[in-house]
Symmetry: D2
Subunit: 314 residues, 4 copies
Amino acid sequence: MSYRFGPDYPDATYVPHDYPEQLADLGEIQMNYAVAGSTDAQPLLLIPGQTESWWGYEQAMKLLAPDFRAYAVDLRGQGRSSRTPGRYSLDNWGNDLVRFIQLVIKRPAIVAGLSSGGVLTAWLSAYAPPGLLRAAYYEDPPLYASEVRPACGQSIRQSAIGNIFRLFSAYLGDQWSVGDWKGLVAAAQSVLPKEALAMAGFGEEPSQNLKEYDPEWARAFWTGTGTAGCDHDQMLRTVKVPVLFTHHFRRVEEANGVLQGAISDLQISRVRALIEGSGQRFAYRSFPQMGHAMHRIDPALYVATLKEWVAGLR
Amino acid sequence: MSYRFGPDYPDATYVPHDYPEQLADLGEIQMNYAVAGSTDAQPLLLIPGQTESWWGYEQAMKLLAPDFRAYAVDLRGQGRSSRTPGRYSLDNWGNDLVRFIQLVIKRPAIVAGLSSGGVLTAWLSAYAPPGLLRAAYYEDPPLYASEVRPACGQSIRQSAIGNIFRLFSAYLGDQWSVGDWKGLVAAAQSVLPKEALAMAGFGEEPSQNLKEYDPEWARAFWTGTGTAGCDHDQMLRTVKVPVLFTHHFRRVEEANGVLQGAISDLQISRVRALIEGSGQRFAYRSFPQMGHAMHRIDPALYVATLKEWVAGLR
Amino acid sequence: MSYRFGPDYPDATYVPHDYPEQLADLGEIQMNYAVAGSTDAQPLLLIPGQTESWWGYEQAMKLLAPDFRAYAVDLRGQGRSSRTPGRYSLDNWGNDLVRFIQLVIKRPAIVAGLSSGGVLTAWLSAYAPPGLLRAAYYEDPPLYASEVRPACGQSIRQSAIGNIFRLFSAYLGDQWSVGDWKGLVAAAQSVLPKEALAMAGFGEEPSQNLKEYDPEWARAFWTGTGTAGCDHDQMLRTVKVPVLFTHHFRRVEEANGVLQGAISDLQISRVRALIEGSGQRFAYRSFPQMGHAMHRIDPALYVATLKEWVAGLR
Amino acid sequence: MSYRFGPDYPDATYVPHDYPEQLADLGEIQMNYAVAGSTDAQPLLLIPGQTESWWGYEQAMKLLAPDFRAYAVDLRGQGRSSRTPGRYSLDNWGNDLVRFIQLVIKRPAIVAGLSSGGVLTAWLSAYAPPGLLRAAYYEDPPLYASEVRPACGQSIRQSAIGNIFRLFSAYLGDQWSVGDWKGLVAAAQSVLPKEALAMAGFGEEPSQNLKEYDPEWARAFWTGTGTAGCDHDQMLRTVKVPVLFTHHFRRVEEANGVLQGAISDLQISRVRALIEGSGQRFAYRSFPQMGHAMHRIDPALYVATLKEWVAGLR
């Protein structure tokens, strides 16, 4: 049996949420998003991680609503946003977000993103047009570690999650064209360590978030087409706004050097050096017991951490 | 002796022009441009070809001034605009132009570009945010023929110009880091057909336009890093505005299939089919005796052709 | 239901044949082969095409036996020979054949191969150690047309068969790791022209020859990892033995330039020029009505053509 | 002034040596080599490192002569052996060596190689035909560390030597086509740490060994075309003969993780695990004060180490 999910199969794919969803026409894509908070509050753009959709922020949005106008989006290839075969790349995802801020938010925003979304907050902090951003929160982003050929430390091949992407791509196929979920689970069990399996949440059926995910993302990261032309070293040298970095669970396996978690301490130290070298404030908070998605696992701590940092920005 | 040119060597590189130049801060880059015509006329964005700078349009601008507000730009890696090593790609060039229209022109524009600039008008016609473009003029663009692995017809390896790019890259180096002009001329003479040499204008010294060119462009096209992730077939299927295509000199060598000129008749027929399939008007004008840059070779004919087409757009 | 085939599933994969099979240890791989003819006859090495195994030559071998000592082999990734993930390339296949001639045949051989196997006869004619080959028969090989970035004519993307390889790779997976035959057939029906479907022989169940095929071959050709580092232009310039080329059905679609069949007339003319330029005799026989695998479709004509050419070699 | 070196400029390139040189015709290439020792002694194949020629072993050969029949070779792209544009890869270098052993040595050999040559001894120990090798000595080889996307530890981008290769390629060009030595030295001074400069021996004029080096090697390693299709992890799993590994100076920079030297302790531990997992003896000798080329720096220690290990092989 083959599974088919995505915008062409809406009944099989999507479920209702607490916030209404709407589409913004950005030219190449339709971007799906939800909003919380009053229209005159500080705008906050929330960018999900890979295999997540906007509603990963649903609980956090409730806590953010009193203080922010929070926009949570689906990137191209996520949730209800468009699928764009062959065109998943940091530069395209990043420019979609630029357009979203210009066309929908229309005011200088704070941006916060998890994982790949955190890499995109870094992208925005370096490459967005002037005046679009106030500050950027990188939530546990795999800087360097999601690159095929990084300047520093583990590459995606040397991270636990990299091999999951390889399997997602092979067994699910671009746009769920293959959809062999059982084959994926079987392959994962024989290949991956338990931590990685848990991290990716394999079970009898695809989880709701995976249904909404275009597996071509995984191919784009594993093969490097999605990260080509956007060297992290070069990007971090030109950051133009203050940065908050929360660093969650990570461990480098002594035996083989494999990275468990999103980014190593060595890689962070280089991130810090480059951003501070660009003249920007770099606030670093380490949460070594925290799982990857603090905004889902502990929304209160996430919001408190964010608010404390924002308070210090003035 | 090694030649060094570019923004780091302004005295050696640049000369004065009839229109004043200014820089727009687009975030990642500073974009250089010049303007002609009255502020309330129809905006027209002019995009130079590879190895050209904005002032390739200087004569045309004088003829356009009575009817248009004409903005001629330098793309990243051209003229006085920023150099961005490792980041020359259609998606980045295209999004720079989106930002330029938003931040500088601020009204719906007609876009016109030559050669690689013509590919970028195609990019804009497919991928720009809604409402930014009125129409797009593709001036002799190497659609398909500038791709490494095109869906149709000759690739860049099978075009005369492709091999020139290969030599530019090897002998001049990214950002003129090598700068071996004499080595380039010698290599070109032993390798390339005369037409190609004439087309590229090799001489004792680098021509003014080449001084202002970042040879990394050539590498990006020859190796395909600059065109990756932007399949022309896919792009042309989603064109959203009316198109004018002027097709200049071209010949397919019977003996070896090599393309002299920018794009073959076979490739054009596919461009037409896809654009018409997207529901847009496709105006085709063939000038088989015309050299590649009609806007420089015959500015009057260029402007007349453009104006006639614009008149029919209403 | 997922299909699993290959050496790890011998009962599901293999069937008996008229000639006994044996394995030669070549170091990296075990090469399976069968032999016909007397030990003192002229040695003839038969190389199957992609998706074929040695027994595609079974009928031809019966006709060849009176005149030749015929060795029909399975290449790595075919039939009962080893699977070598990540290591399918022309240079590796070619050097396997060199070793086979040295270790098993042990005398100067005539080599004959179909399709990809024909490209390998070209490889052997250019790159084998001195004294190993007497002459080479290229049976309808996709010279240039199986390259990602050929010097001349259609690339693999512009050939009908190329898109089949893309689907083989996506739906069957390296080493049949995915094995979604029904997904493959469904995808093929919506994407490919009827000729291509017929050519690839899709049906309810995988055909016997496909069961014996490692679909990673298809990935290696479609992505170009298998043909990298072996430019056909360069290879053909150094051919060192006489060549027979039989050219079967081919047609270039006027509307889109797509190649039906293995190699175009334009490409052949370049093959001829380069081989004759290398000082070797080039015998060309055109069979425009003949399907791709003459040795299976009309073994008598195949053998007659081969024998006539061999008679003329002295 | 442009420098031109290589087989096309023999007077400018080569100097006499203590052992006579001769060429072996291997089919695709002519391989240059020299021999020492008596014809009935144990055959020993000596493989130079990158930027070295066979005569890097000249002093060692004198010490080896009483006990071995020592063959020191130039690989394709080194010394007086052929240049093969576009065809420098581990699989091609490795198969050249297979042919050399078969055609020239003709008996089971011990193979010993430095650096890239050491990677090739690993290649031979995994992929040579049966019976060709007795044992393999890997002299400080950059296993993993010369790969673009290694399974373990630093990639070539993260090693000091990698950036030198990048500059060799840009300023010298394939086959010395650019030959800008002064540009190379200037670029190296502004970019590389002193250790790396010393390691590469930059001076007023190209050193003798660099004159004999085809800079396309450097491009093949830096871009990964030379190492593609030969994953080290996979190769080391199938080693078939006993191995000696001498590990010389190395240091991982704490601040940035850059590897000084050829291979890290972490990478070695994986090499050992895989080779022992393949059932072969793995003799490891660490010389942390020794420079990269022990066979040149301390030929007596090199030969003593080799002889001691060989004595233990019986």
